[in-house]
C-alpha cells in the first residue's frame, strides 16, 4: 500500500475515511488505482459537505421535531422490579434539551472492575452503593417519655443484608448526627437527649431526624438493581451521584455513566456533557425506533455547550445568548427584552434570520446570503 499517497490526502480527508480505505483496499492495488479511489472519495466527500448559507439550524429543528410527533409511551418499567421506571420518549427529549437540573428519573449504570464484575457478591456491592438510612434498618422507633430518650429497635436481618453490625451502625449515626447514642442489648439503640431537647415536641422532631439519618452508601442513590449485561454484572441505580460513585475503588470509572447531563458537565466537564446529550437523545430516538441523523443532534448539543457551560434551549438558556434584541423579543416575554435592551442602549445589527423576517428584509441565508463586497459610493 502506498503510504505516500495516503499522506497526500491526510489533510483533505478525515482519518476515519482513510483508515477505512486502507483496510478495505485489496492487497495488490496499483498506485494509479489507489489514486483514483482516493480522488473519487474526495469528490464524494466534498459533495457531501454542507454549502455556505444552508440553514442547518432550521433543518435540524425540523428533523428532530417531526419524528418527535410520532413518539409514544412516556415511561417504561423495568420488568419484574418494583418502582423502577425510566422517562423516555418526548418528555425525556424535552428534559434533556431544556437542560434541566432535576430529572424526573435520574439513573446510573455502574460498571465494575474485573474481579467484582463476575457477579460474586454482586448484591452486597450493590447494597454498599445504595444510600442506607436509619429507618431502612430499624423496625421500630419509640419515645420513652419517662427519661425522654428515643429507643430504636434494629432489624437484625436488614442490618446484616447491608453489611453492618449494630456497633458500626451506632458509630455511623453518631458521625452523621452528633447525638449521644448507647447500644443497649444487641438490637436496641438508645438515644439520650440533651437538655435542649427537653420538650416532647423537640424529642419528636429529633426522632424524625434520626429516621432519615444517613448510615452508609452513597447519597442520592435511592435504589440499586444488579443486572447482567453481556458476560458481566453491572448495577443500575435510581438516583445519581457520579462524583461519589467514581471514587469507589471497585467501580470502572471509564464506562460508568449517569443520565444526568448536568451532573456529567459538573464532574467531567462540558465536552463530556456534550457527548452525554448526544448519547441520551440517541438512546431515546433508538428506543422509539425512529431515524434521526446524528449530526442534527450533534448540532443541538453544540449549541447547548459552546458557551462553556450547559445551557438549555429555553428563554433562560441559549435564547438569552442571542445577539439580536428583536430575535430574543420574538421568542418569549418581548416587553422585558425590549426594556432591558433599551436600558443599555443595545444595537441590533440585523445579522440573523428572525429579525430580518420581522422587518421583512432578505434573510442572510440561502439565496439571500450573497451580496456585493464593494460599497457603492452615493
Amino acid at each position: 500500500m502506498d503510504e505516500e499517497l495516503f499522506k497526500e490526502y491526510e489533510d483533505k480527508l478525515p482519518p476515519a475515511i482513510l483508515e477505512n480505505i486502507r483496510k478495505n483496499a485489496p492487497e495488490k492495488i496499483t498506485k494509479a488505482q489507489l489514486k483514483k479511489v482516493l480522488e473519487l472519495t474526495l469528490k464524494e466527500y466534498e459533495e457531501m459537505a454542507i454549502e455556505p448559507g444552508e440553514s442547518v439550524g432550521v433543518i435540524s429543528a425540523e428533523s428532530i421535531g417531526e419524528p418527535g410527533t410520532q413518539m409514544t409511551l412516556n415511561t417504561f418499567h423495568f420488568a419484574g422490579v418494583a418502582e423502577m421506571n425510566v422517562t423516555t420518549g418526548l418528555p425525556r427529549i424535552i428534559e434533556i434539551l431544556d437542560g434541566r437540573k432535576a430529572l424526573s428519573t435520574p439513573m446510573m449504570e455502574i460498571y465494575l472492575q474485573k474481579p467484582y464484575s463476575t457477579g460474586k457478591d454482586i448484591k452486597k456491592i450493590a447494597l454498599m452503593v445504595k444510600e442506607t438510612k436509619v429507618c431502612d434498618v430499624a423496625s421500630e422507633f419509640e419515645i420513652n417519655l419517662a427519661d425522654s430518650t428515643i429507643e430504636i429497635k434494629l432489624d437484625k436481618q436488614k442490618l446484616e443484608e447491608v453489611g453492618l453490625t449494630p456497633s458500626t451502625l451506632v458509630k455511623n449515626i453518631e458521625k452523621a448526627m452528633k447525638v449521644n447514642l448507647k447500644l443497649k442489648d444487641d438490637d436496641l439503640v438508645v438515644v439520650k437527649t440533651s437538655s435542649k431537647e427537653s420538650s416532647l415536641n423537640e424529642v419528636y422532631k429529633l426522632k424524625e431526624k434520626i429516621k432519615d439519618a444517613y448510615v452508609q452508601g452513597i447519597k442520592g442513590i435511592l435504589q440499586v438493581l444488579p443486572v447482567k449485561r453481556g458476560d458481566e454484572f453491572i448495577i443500575i441505580t435510581a438516583g445519581t451521584n457520579l462524583r461519589k460513585v467514581l471514587e469507589l475503588e471497585f467501580v470502572d470509572p471509564v464506562r460508568t455513566v449517569s443520565n444526568d447531563v448536568y451532573e456529567i458537565g459538573e464532574v467531567l466537564g462540558v465536552e463530556a456533557a456534550r457527548q452525554a446529550i448526544i448519547n441520551e437523545i440517541l438512546k431515546v430516538v433508538d428506543s422509539q425506533g425512529l431515524n434521526i441523523d446524528k449530526r442534527h443532534i450533534m448540532l443541538v448539543a453544540d449549541m447547548m455547550c459552546f458557551s462553556g457551560d450547559l445551557k438549555g434551549i429555553t428563554r433562560y438558556g441559549i435564547v438569552q445568548e442571542k445577539a439580536s434584541v428583536l430575535a430574543r423579543a420574538s421568542f418569549e416575554t418581548p416587553i422585558k427584552h425590549i426594556i432591558d435592551a433599551a436600558l443599555v442602549g443595545e444595537v441590533d445589527k440585523l445579522n440573523s434570520v428572525v429579525e430580518n423576517v420581522m422587518i421583512n428584509q432578505p434573510l442572510p441565508i440561502g439565496t439571500g446570503l450573497p451580496s456585493l463586497i464593494v460599497d457603492a459610493k452615493k
Binding site: G53, A342, P362, T367, L369
Partner: protein, 601 residues
C-alpha cells in the same frame, strides 16, 4: 371490622355486615320500596359502600337474574305485546333495573339468555344495549373495529337528512335538507325503534368497489353523473339573514326601509333592486353577492357639539344587510316579528340548492368517509353483465388497513335486500348471518361472494377482475365545498396592521404561518420568503439624524423630520408595516428605537 358507608359521597356511618347491607338495599329497590334511582356499590378493597341517588350518573337497564334464571318470562313478553304491561311496570316489579357504572362493577352480566349460569346476576335486554343511539345505527358493527364504529356513529351526526318534518315553517338557520332521503335497506333494531323512516338521512345506492383511473385514491369516491342528474345526493342549504331595528339613546332608532340616496354609504340603485316598499326583499328573489336583502339605515354615529353645525353629519348611515362575498341563493321565507326587547326583527331565510360536486363529502355508515374525486358521465361508468351501473365507486384500498368488514357485509346485505324486496336486519350481534345472505345471492343467480363481471364503460372491454358490487346506504355529510371554496389575490386589509384580513367570509388571505416560514428558511429561499411577506410592504421616510420616522408632505413634495426640522437627510426605507407598528409600540413603552441607516449593497 366495620365497613364505611357513604351516601352520595358523604360519610354517614358504618355497618357490620356489608354484604347483607348491600343486598338489603338492592332488594328494597327491586320491591320498589326504594326509588329505582338508587344505586349501591361495595368496594371490597377500600372496604367502602357507596350509595348514590343523585343525577348525572350514566345508567343502563338490565334484566335481573335469580339462580341462573331470567326474571323476564314469556308471560311478561306476551303481556308487553298486548300492552297490558309497560316498561316502567317491569321496573316496579324488579324484573328490570337500572345500574350505574359503579354498581355494574360488581355484577356478572350474560349476553344471551342461553349463556346464563348460577353465577350470573343480570342479563342484557339486548346485546345492542352496549352501544349508544348513533353507535347502534351502524349495521353489522360486531364485524368492525371499535374505532371505526365510533367514526361511523360520529359521521351519521353530520349527515344531511330530514331533520324535522316542519322545516318549511321553521326559521332554523344554517341547516340542510336532503332531497328524497330513504330509509336504509340494511337496518338495525334502532332504526325501527327510533322511527328512522320518519327522519332518514341517506340514500340507498349501488356501490362498486374498484379503482377508477386513480381518481378515487386516498379515500376519494367516484360519482355517476347520471345518478346526480337523477337527484342523488341533492340537498338544500338554508342560510339566515337577520337584522333588527335597534333603539339608541335620544329616541333615535334604526329604520328598516329602502335607504335614501342621501344616506351616508349608499351603495347603488342596482344593489337595492329586490327590496319592496317595506325595505325587505321579496320571496323567490334570486340574490347574488352584493345584493341587499334587508335595507336599513341607522342614525348618525356621533352627535358631538361640533358636528351639530356640520350638515353632512346629520344624515343617516346605511347599515343594510347584504349578501356576503361568494354567497348566493334564493329568498325562501321572510318573517317579520318582534324580539324580547320589543324591537322590530326581520328574518330572511335564503335557500340554495346543492348538487353534489367534486369535493363534497360522502360516507357509508362504517367510518368510511371520502370526498368526491371525479364525476363520471353515465356512459363512461363501468357496467355489469346485467346492465347495472354503479352510482358510486369506492376504493378497495380503504378496506384492509381499517378492517371495516361491516362495510363489506352491508354491501352484500343491501344487494340481497334489493333483490328480495325486503329490509335486511343488520342489528349488531343479532343480525341475519352473512352465510345466509350469500346463499340467497346464489339463489338469485349471482356469485355468492358478491362479485360480478364488469365492463369498462369507455371501451366496452371486460375487466379482468371480478368487481365487488352491491347496494349500500350512503350519507351526504354537511361539509360541502361550496361553503368552503376560497381564494384571494388582492383584497381587503386590516386597518391596524395593513395585513390581509383573515377568514373566508372576509375574503381573507391564506396565512403563511411560522412553521410554513421555516420551510422557506430551510430551503434557503430567502428572497421568495421576503416576497411572500410583502403583503404589508410600506415605504417610510426615515430621518438619518435621529433615526425616527419622518414626514413626507405630498403637496410640497418635501420631507421633514418633526424633531430635527427639514435640514436633514431623509431616506425612504422599505419595510413591513408591522415593523413600523412595532416601532410605534416601542415608543409607547418609552423606548427610543433609533434606525441606523446604511447602504445595503
Amino acid at each position: 371490622m366495620t365497613t364505611e358507608v357513604y351516601l352520595n359521597s358523604r360519610y354517614v356511618g358504618d355497618v357490620e355486615n356489608p354484604e347483607q347491607f348491600v343486598q338489603n338495599i338492592v332488594d328494597s329497590r327491586r320491591k320498589a320500596d326504594l326509588s329505582s334511582n338508587v344505586n349501591v356499590s361495595y368496594d371490597k378493597k377500600k372496604n367502602e359502600i357507596h350509595v348514590e341517588s343523585l343525577r348525572g350518573r350514566l345508567r343502563r337497564p338490565l334484566i335481573v337474574v335469580k339462580d341462573g334464571k331470567s326474571l323476564l318470562t314469556e308471560k311478561h313478553i306476551t303481556q308487553l305485546e298486548k300492552s297490558e304491561l309497560t316498561f316502567s311496570d317491569l321496573l316496579k316489579q324488579g324484573v328490570i333495573e337500572y345500574l350505574d357504572a359503579a354498581e355494574e362493577e360488581g355484577t356478572f352480566i350474560a349476553f344471551y339468555e342461553n349463556e346464563l349460569t348460577k353465577q350470573h346476576t343480570h342479563l342484557e335486554i339486548s346485546p345492542i344495549d352496549i352501544f349508544g343511539l348513533c353507535g347502534s345505527l351502524v349495521p353489522y358493527a360486531n364485524h368492525s373495529p371499535g374505532a371505526r364504529i365510533a367514526m361511523g356513529a360520529k359521521n351519521q351526526k353530520q349527515s344531511l337528512g330530514l331533520y324535522a318534518a316542519n322545516f318549511s315553517v321553521r326559521m332554523d338557520m344554517d341547516v340542510n335538507i336532503l332531497h328524497s332521503a330513504q330509509r336504509p335497506i340494511v337496518t338495525t333494531l334502532t332504526h325501527e325503534t327510533s322511527m328512522y323512516e320518519k327522519h332518514p338521512s341517506g340514500q340507498n345506492i349501488v356501490v362498486a368497489v374498484m379503482a377508477y383511473k386513480g381518481y378515487n385514491m386516498e379515500d376519494a369516491v367516484i360519482l355517476n353523473k347520471g345518478s346526480i342528474d337523477r337527484g342523488m345526493g341533492r340537498s338544500t342549504y338554508f342560510r339566515p339573514a337577520i337584522t333588527e331595528e335597534l333603539r339608541y339613546a335620544g329616541g333615535l332608532t334604526d329604520e328598516i326601509s329602502i335607504p335614501d340616496k342621501e344616506v351616508k354609504g349608499y351603495k347603488s340603485e342596482r344593489d337595492y333592486r329586490f327590496l319592496e316598499e317595506d325595505g325587505i326583499i321579496y320571496p323567490e328573489a334570486q340574490v347574488k353577492e352584493g345584493d341587499v336583502v334587508i335595507g336599513k339605515t341607522s342614525p348618525p354615529r356621533f352627535l358631538s357639539s361640533l358636528e351639530e353645525y356640520n350638515l353632512a353629519s346629520n344624515t343617516r348611515r346605511e347599515s343594510s344587510l347584504g349578501m356576503k362575498h361568494g354567497e348566493e341563493g334564493i329568498v325562501d321565507f321572510v318573517c317579520i316579528t318582534e324580539n324580547e326587547e320589543g324591537n322590530k326583527l326581520v328574518q330572511v331565510r335564503l335557500r340554495d340548492q346543492r348538487i353534489p360536486e367534486v369535493g363534497d363529502k360522502f360516507t357509508s355508515r362504517h367510518g368510511q368517509k371520502g370526498v368526491v374525486g371525479l364525476i363520471v358521465p353515465h356512459a363512461d361508468m363501468p357496467f355489469s353483465a346485467s346492465g347495472i351501473v354503479p352510482d358510486l365507486i369506492f376504493s378497495p384500498h380503504g378496506i384492509p388497513s381499517r378492517m371495516t368488514i361491516s362495510h363489506l357485509i352491508e354491501l352484500i346485505g343491501g344487494k340481497v335486500g334489493a333483490l328480495t324486496g325486503r329490509y335486511i336486519d343488520g342489528t349488531t350481534f343479532d343480525s341475519e348471518p352473512e352465510a345466509a345472505l350469500r346463499k340467497l345471492l346464489l339463489q338469485f343467480g349471482f356469485r355468492e361472494n358478491g362479485t360480478e363481471t364488469m365492463y369498462n364503460g369507455e371501451t366496452g372491454e371486460q375487466y379482468q377482475a371480478k368487481i365487488f358490487i352491491g347496494n349500500m346506504y350512503y350519507l351526504k355529510l354537511k361539509h360541502m365545498v361550496a361553503n368552503k371554496l376560497h381564494s384571494r389575490a388582492r383584497g381587503p386589509i386590516q386597518l391596524l396592521t395593513r395585513q390581509p384580513t383573515e377568514g373566508r367570509s372576509k375574503e381573507g388571505g391564506l396565512r403563511l404561518g411560522e412553521m410554513e416560514k421555516d420551510t422557506f428558511v430551510a430551503h434557503g429561499a430567502a428572497l421568495l420568503l421576503k416576497e411572500r411577506f410583502d403583503s404589508d410592504k410600506t415605504v417610510v421616510p426615515v430621518c438619518e439624524s435621529c433615526g425616527m420616522v419622518a414626514i413626507y408632505n405630498e403637496f410640497k413634495d418635501q420631507s421633514y423630520c418633526p424633531i430635527c426640522g427639514d435640514n436633514v437627510e431623509i431616506s425612504d426605507i422599505e419595510m413591513s408595516y408591522a415593523f413600523k407598528l412595532i416601532l410605534d409600540e416601542f415608543k409607547a413603552l418609552g423606548v427610543y428605537p433609533k434606525l441606523q441607516l446604511k447602504t445595503k449593497y
